[in-house]
Amino acid sequence: MKYENVLTICPYCGAGCGLYLQVLDGELVGVLPCESHVVSQGKLCVKGWNAHEFVYDKERLTKPLIKHNGTFEEVSWDKALDIIVRKFKEYVEKYSPDSIGVLSSAKCTNEENYLMMKFARAVLGTNNVDHCARLCHSSSVVGLGASFGSGAMTNSIGELENCDCILVTGSNTTEQHPLVARYIMRAKEKGAKLIVVDPRAIPLSRFADFHLRQRPGTDVAWINGFMNVIINESLEDKAFIQERTEGYEEMAETVGKYTPEYVESITGIPKENLIDAARTYARSDRAALVYSMGITQHTTGVDCVRSCANLAMLTGNVGKPSTGVNPLRGQVNVQGACDVGALPNVYSGYQSVADEKIRAKFEEAWKTKLPPKPGLTVVDMINAAYDGKMKMMYIMGENPMLSDPDIGHVKEGLNNLESLVVQDIFLTETAQLADIVLPAASYAEKSGTFTSTDRMVQMVRKAIEPVGESRPDWQIICSLAKRMGSNEFEYSSPADVMDEIASLTPIYGGMAYDRLGNGLQWPCPSKDHAGTPYLHKDKFSRGKGSFAALEFKEPAELPDEDYPLNLTTGRIMFHFHTGTMTRRTEILNREVPMGYVEINPVDAEKLGVADEEQVLVQSRRGEISIKTLITKRVPEGVIFIPFHFVECAANVLTNPAVDPVAKIPEFKTCAARIKRVERKKL
C-alpha cells in the first residue's frame, strides 16, 4: 500500500508548469496541479491535466524493433544496439562522419540533449546535429542574438502581470501557452492595455484594446510603421537610445518611408488603428512584447524578430522588469535543447564550434578531436538525404514526417536514406519509415531537467519505472557511446551530466541538482549566483543593443490566380504538435477529433462550400482532403489549418522556402486553393 505524488514538469509547452504525478503502488493514476510552482500556481490547462494518459497507451513502444521485409520484428536491446553501432562505423569509414545526421529532441531533457550532441560530435565526429527549434525559433536565436547578444526570452512569465501594456503578435497565447496567457489576462484586469496583432481572431483579441489584422507575412512593415509613428511624434526613449544602443540613425532613416498610409497599403491595417496602437505602446511605462511562430516562421523570420527588438529598444523597453521581447517557446524543452548545444553550429551555451579556443576546451574535456565545420540543419539534412549525400539518420523523439514543411519531400528524403534509426515512445509517422526503432521512456519514467521559455531550469523527477523494456534516452545514448568504444559516457545519473554541462557552459555554470528545487534562470554563472529573472539589465549581452535597418520583403509565395488563398497554420488548445501524445488522450480527442480548414464566410460563399463539407485543399506541394469550418476567425482571403492531424496534414501543403540565415521554413504563409469534391450522382 503505497501512495505518493512526485513533483515534475508538464511535458507539453514551454511554459514549464509544475505538476504532481500521482502514483499508487507504482502505477501512475493522475495529475495534480502544484500550488507552490512559480508559473502554474495550482492551475493547469486541459493538456497538463491529462498528461498522465498517454504514458500507459497500449501503443507505447516496449521492445526494440527491426524491419524485415517491410514489417517490424521485436529484437533484444543487445542485438539492436549492435546493429546500430555496426552501421555507424560502416558509414563513418565508407563515406565520412558527415554522411550521418542526428536529430535531437525538444521533448527530451537537457542532459539527454547534451549527451546526444556530445555523441554526434565526439563519437561520430560530425556537427550534423539539430532539432525542431529550427522549425520554431531558430530566427529568434539568430535575430535576438544579433540585436541583443542573447536569443532567449528577455523577461520572466510572471512579470507580464505587472505590465502597463502588452503587445501580443503571432502568438495565440491562450491556446498555445495557456498559463502564460493567464498573466496577460491578469495584467489586463489590472488595467494594462492589450494590443493584439494577428490576422486571426484569437481568444485574447476578444479582450484586446486593439486588434490589428495584418496580411500574413507583412510584420516587418507594420513594425516599421509603429516606429515611424513613434519617431514622428517624438515618443522614443532618447536617453536609452543614446546610452545603450547603436545603429539608430540608419534604422530611423529606413522607417522614414513606412508612413501609416504606406503601411496600410502593404498590411491592410487601417492607419488610424496603427497610429493609436503605436502611441499606446510607446506611452506605456512598462511595455512587453510577446511573440511566437507568427513572427518567426517566415522567410523573413530573422528580420521580423529583429524588428521586434528594434521596437522594444526604441521605447526603452528592455532591461527592466515587465518589459522586453518575449518569444514563447513551443516545446517544453526547446529552450534547453538549444542551450545545451543540440544545434549544428554551437556547443552548449551557444559556444561556436568554429571558434578554435572553444573547440579546444571541448576537445580537452571530451578527450578527442572535434570537427570545426558547422553541420547541417534539419532542413538541409532532409535535402542531403534526398540528394543521396546523407546515408544514415538517427532521430530521437522527433516526428519530421508531420512537423516539417512539404512532407512529401521529407518522405522521399527519409526513404532515400540507407539507414534510419528512430528512438521514440510511439511508432510515429517517422518511426514507421525506420529500419530500427528503439523504445524510449517517457517524461514520467526518468529524471533530468527541462528549461522553460523564460530560461528557468527545473527538475524533472522520475515517478514510475519505464514501461515495458523502454529505457531513458540518456541511458540509450550512453550505451551506444560505450559500444562505439568511448570512455567518456560514464555517468551514474543525470546529475553527473548536469555537473559536466555546468563545468563547460558559462550560462549554466551555477546549475546543480541540489539548487534546482525551485528552478534557476540562466545566466547563472556560479554556484552562488541566484539566477537572472530578466536579461540586459544595465548592459546588453553583446554590449550595445543593435538596431537593424530593415526593408519589408514579401513572403516567398503569394496568392495568385491559380492559388488565390493565403494558407496559414498553427496549433489549437486541445492538441499538441504532431498529436503523438494528445491524440492518444481521450478527452482531447473528444474535444477535437479531426483537423479542419477555417474559411471566412465570404470566401465560403464565393466557393459555394458549406460548413463541415469535405473539400480538397491544394498547394504547389500537394493536396489534402479536409472538412471546412466556416468562421470569421480568419479574414477574407486567409485560410487556417491546425497541423496536428496526419489524416489532413497541413504540412503536405506548406512551403519549404527558408529564411536565408536561420533556415526556418515559411510555415505561416503560402498560396493555396480550395476545390469542392465532385460527387457522383446516385
Binding site: 500500500m1 513533483l7 490547462c45 486541459v46
Partner: protein, 274 residues
C-alpha cells in the same frame, strides 16, 4: 501543531488504529500528499497552509475517483487514516453519503484551521466536527464578494458572469479538483449540453452543468476557484448556490453525516438506494 499531528499519527500507526495515514509530506524541497505507513517517515509529515487544503481528498484523473476511494477498493481490509481539515472532513462526509467512501474504515486526524487560514479561504466553518489538533476559531460569517454581487442589478450580474465565463479556457480544472464530484461519465463532456472543442465553452451551459451537479454537495472549499487559470470567481457563485440550498431544503453539505442530501432523496421521500 505539527508536532502534535506527528505524535498522534505515530500513535495511530504504532497501535494499529490505522495501517496508513494520508497527509502532506515535505520531500526534496516540495510538499505533496503522501500515504505514511511507517512511523520513521513521520518527520516529513507537515501541515501546510501553502498547499490547497482539500489536497488529501484529491481525485485520480485516470479513474475520476477519490484516492481514498481507490485505496479502499484496492485494500478492502485496510484501516486508512487521513489528516483532514474542516473542508476535507466535509468532502469525506458528502462522498460517504453517495457510497463513494466507507466512513467506518476511515479515521480522520482532525486539524482545525487558524483564523488567518479561514479568512484566506473565506471559510465560515474552518474546523472539523471533532478536533484532534488545534483550536476552533471563528469562521468568516459574511462573504464580501457575495454581498457585493448581491447589491448589483440582475442586468449587472448577468454581464458580470458573462464576462467572467467568457475567459474560460476549458481546462476542466474546476471539475478535476472538486472533492465532491466523482461521476465517471461526466455530463460536462457531453456534446448534448455544450458543444465540444469550443473556446470559450458555451456560456453559461458548460458551467451550469457542474454548478447544478454539485449544488447540494459543494462544501465551499474553494478548490475550483484556486484551480482556475483565469480567476473566474467560482467560489462566489457556489456560495450563492449553497445559500439557496439552505433556504430551500434547510441543508448544508458536509456538516452532518447523518443528514440526507436533498437532491438524493426520491420523489416519495424514501432514501435513494444503490
Amino acid at each position: 501543531m505539527i508536532e502534535e499531528t506527528r505524535r498522534l499519527a505515530e500513535k495511530w500507526l504504532e497501535s494499529g488504529k490505522v495501517d496508513g495515514i494520508v497527509g502532506l509530506r515535505e520531500n526534496d524541497g516540495y510538499v505533496a500528499p503522501y500515504l505514511f505507513t511507517e512511523t520513521g517517515e513521520l518527520e516529513s509529515l507537515v501541515v501546510s497552509s501553502q498547499i490547497r487544503r482539500t489536497f488529501c481528498t484529491s481525485k485520480s484523473q485516470r479513474f475520476k475517483k477519490n484516492v481514498l476511494y481507490l485505496l479502499q477498493q484496492k485494500y478492502p481490509k485496510a484501516k486508512i487514516g487521513v489528516v483532514a481539515r474542516g473542508c476535507e472532513e466535509k468532502a469525506i462526509i458528502e462522498l460517504a453519503k453517495r457510497n463513494q467512501l466507507d466512513l467506518e474504515r476511515i479515521t480522520i486526524l482532525a486539524v482545525a484551521c487558524t483564523r488567518e487560514e479561514a479568512i484566506d479561504c473565506r471559510c465560515p466553518t474552518p474546523y472539523p466536527t471533532r478536533i484532534d489538533v488545534g483550536k476552533r476559531v471563528e469562521g468568516v460569517s459574511s462573504d464580501v464578494d457575495v454581498e457585493a454581487l448581491q447589491k448589483k442589478s440582475l442586468q449587472e450580474r448577468f454581464s458580470f458572469w458573462k464576462h467572467e465565463l467568457s475567459k474560460c479556457i476549458k481546462c476542466y480544472g474546476c471539475r478535476n479538483v472538486c472533492p465532491s464530484c466523482f461521476c465517471e461519465d461526466c455530463k460536462m463532456e457531453l456534446e448534448l449540453w455544450a458543444k465540444m472543442g469550443q473556446l470559450p465553452p458555451e456560456i453559461p451551459m458548460f458551467h451550469f452543468i457542474r454548478w447544478y451537479h454539485v449544488a447540494d454537495r459543494c462544501i465551499e472549499c474553494g478548490a475550483c476557484e484556486k484551480a482556475c487559470p483565469v480567476d473566474i470567481p467560482l467560489l462566489t457563485i457556489l456560495k450563492l448556490l449553497r445559500r439557496d440550498i439552505k433556504e430551500m431544503f434547510d441543508y448544508e453539505a458536509g456538516l452532518d453525516a447523518k443528514q440526507e442530501a436533498p437532491l438524493l432523496t426520491t420523489l416519495d421521500e424514501t432514501p435513494l438506494k444503490e
